[in-house]
Symmetry: C2
Amino acid sequence: MSSTTPAKTGDLTPPDWRAIVEAHARIAPRIHRTPVLTSKSLDAMVGAQVFFKCENLQKTGSFKIRGAANAIFSLNEQEIAHGIVTQSSGNHGAAVACAAAWRGIPAWIVMPRNAPAVKRLAIEGYGGRITVCEATMTARIEATRRIQSETGALLIHPYDDDRVIAGQATASKELLEEVGDLDAVFAPVSGGGLLSGTCLGAKSISPHLRVFGCEPAQADDAYRSIETGTLQSLDSSDTIADGLRAPLSPRTFAILRKHVAGILRVTEQEIIATTRLIWERMKIVVEPSSAVAIAPLLKTGGVAALALPARADGGNLKLGVIFSGGNVDLSSLPF
Amino acid sequence: MSSTTPAKTGDLTPPDWRAIVEAHARIAPRIHRTPVLTSKSLDAMVGAQVFFKCENLQKTGSFKIRGAANAIFSLNEQEIAHGIVTQSSGNHGAAVACAAAWRGIPAWIVMPRNAPAVKRLAIEGYGGRITVCEATMTARIEATRRIQSETGALLIHPYDDDRVIAGQATASKELLEEVGDLDAVFAPVSGGGLLSGTCLGAKSISPHLRVFGCEPAQADDAYRSIETGTLQSLDSSDTIADGLRAPLSPRTFAILRKHVAGILRVTEQEIIATTRLIWERMKIVVEPSSAVAIAPLLKTGGVAALALPARADGGNLKLGVIFSGGNVDLSSLPF
């Protein structure tokens, strides 16, 4: 295990290996060490050995509790005296509400009107105080600022926050601790918290491993940003993968630009078909955003197109896939 | 760990601890060691700590591969020379087809006309040769006998077989190895292969632990058999729990009568609501037959009604639940 040397990227210094190890020590007693599952039938379809890190089985139903808990438990008493506020399409909101409840402080959650009902209910279940706003980034930011000024609550951004990124990195740290010799890891990308954490966590342990982001073609700002080398805006985000509707931030873009091997895009049809396939074959409930991370590998020639180097042991490629969450509304399944 | 002394019950000597250990050594390299999951929200609903042994995440989607693989791999070359035949409502059929394919021999599967399509497809996927018959026990037995006489294939009964029972016992062996100090274990009961294996496996490790069977009220022959002390017939089996439509055999009844603490019955509505609850809260796909094993504990006063002794450590009761399978047809969900 090598230590990641903090690297200046513009003004932003990403979390180093020590920050990730500290985050893990801080949150491990509170969260699940989620299982890594395998499936011979999916292996056959992909043409590689695939190891699925099941954050859908994580507390609150997604990886988001890792970052939220790390942020909230690394704050001092004074910083959290007036509670926490955040904006979230759902999973980060639930995670903040849950971690705030663990710490015994109030949490205000700003969420867009079109977020799934099941996610709103989950947040209320954790005692979170919900403020609904229009489904635009501007409306979210405005509502968040208003709550900040009215209550003095501290903002925990869903991904533009080093403590959050260090927390998300612990998922790939656990995956690599369990399956050490992976050739590549795949994670969905939205704002980039999970994917940049995955780059930092996985590559700290296996520097030569490649990390790919997976993204809906209908919300492909990360793809365009990496391709052009300039942070692109997210003009529309009309995708069934409701956890993947946020744009990269300068902070996450800087990490991805340095570390990511590529961004792979999938269609809405591919997302839906893959979601159903995982439910049927793996017997786990994943949300469409999770399916995005394996969907590119299920296309004909999907793995070959990545041109990964052959393994020294001559065996099949070993790939890690991070299933980000499992919060779906069973009343309105897309299949 | 104490060894179970083989006890004569009528003519039937159940598998002893050595047979279970041998079964485990035989099948462990071929099957998943399935995860034991926990859920704080379900713990709160039940009023105890619950440890879920997730055989829905097992190869072929159910625990049945344990018994089938143990039976098929304990046979000699001569015994399997003409292949295997079995009758099954689905999961045992898939398991036999899969284990036979591993061993490189043909498998004929007799299944009732009303078995879910997804189970038929799974069996065909493993290379099993399906014979459809009417949904009566008589029709199944007849079709099975015909194939036996035509092909010389060896019958592997779904549960009336000590090698199968010893294989099913390995699920509770793994559960107890992971969570040693359980107060009780709950498993669904149909023909009684899993439940009698659970009795033998769990009580060999923890002799004072209590094992409960859980059964649809609409197919409650095990309940009536235990209550009356006489093996009862299954007059109707009109339940959504399609894995629980078989009657006990003299062999499994003898084991249950000696070891089981009680049989708990649940309504169809309770089965459906519990299935959905598990999908939503635990993010795993379980079939209704699995939900039957936790449904009795979700009734008001469910755990209290069992009158389990308080724990010596003064803590909450620790309960094991075996989720038997996850093979459902996503095209026709009951919710």
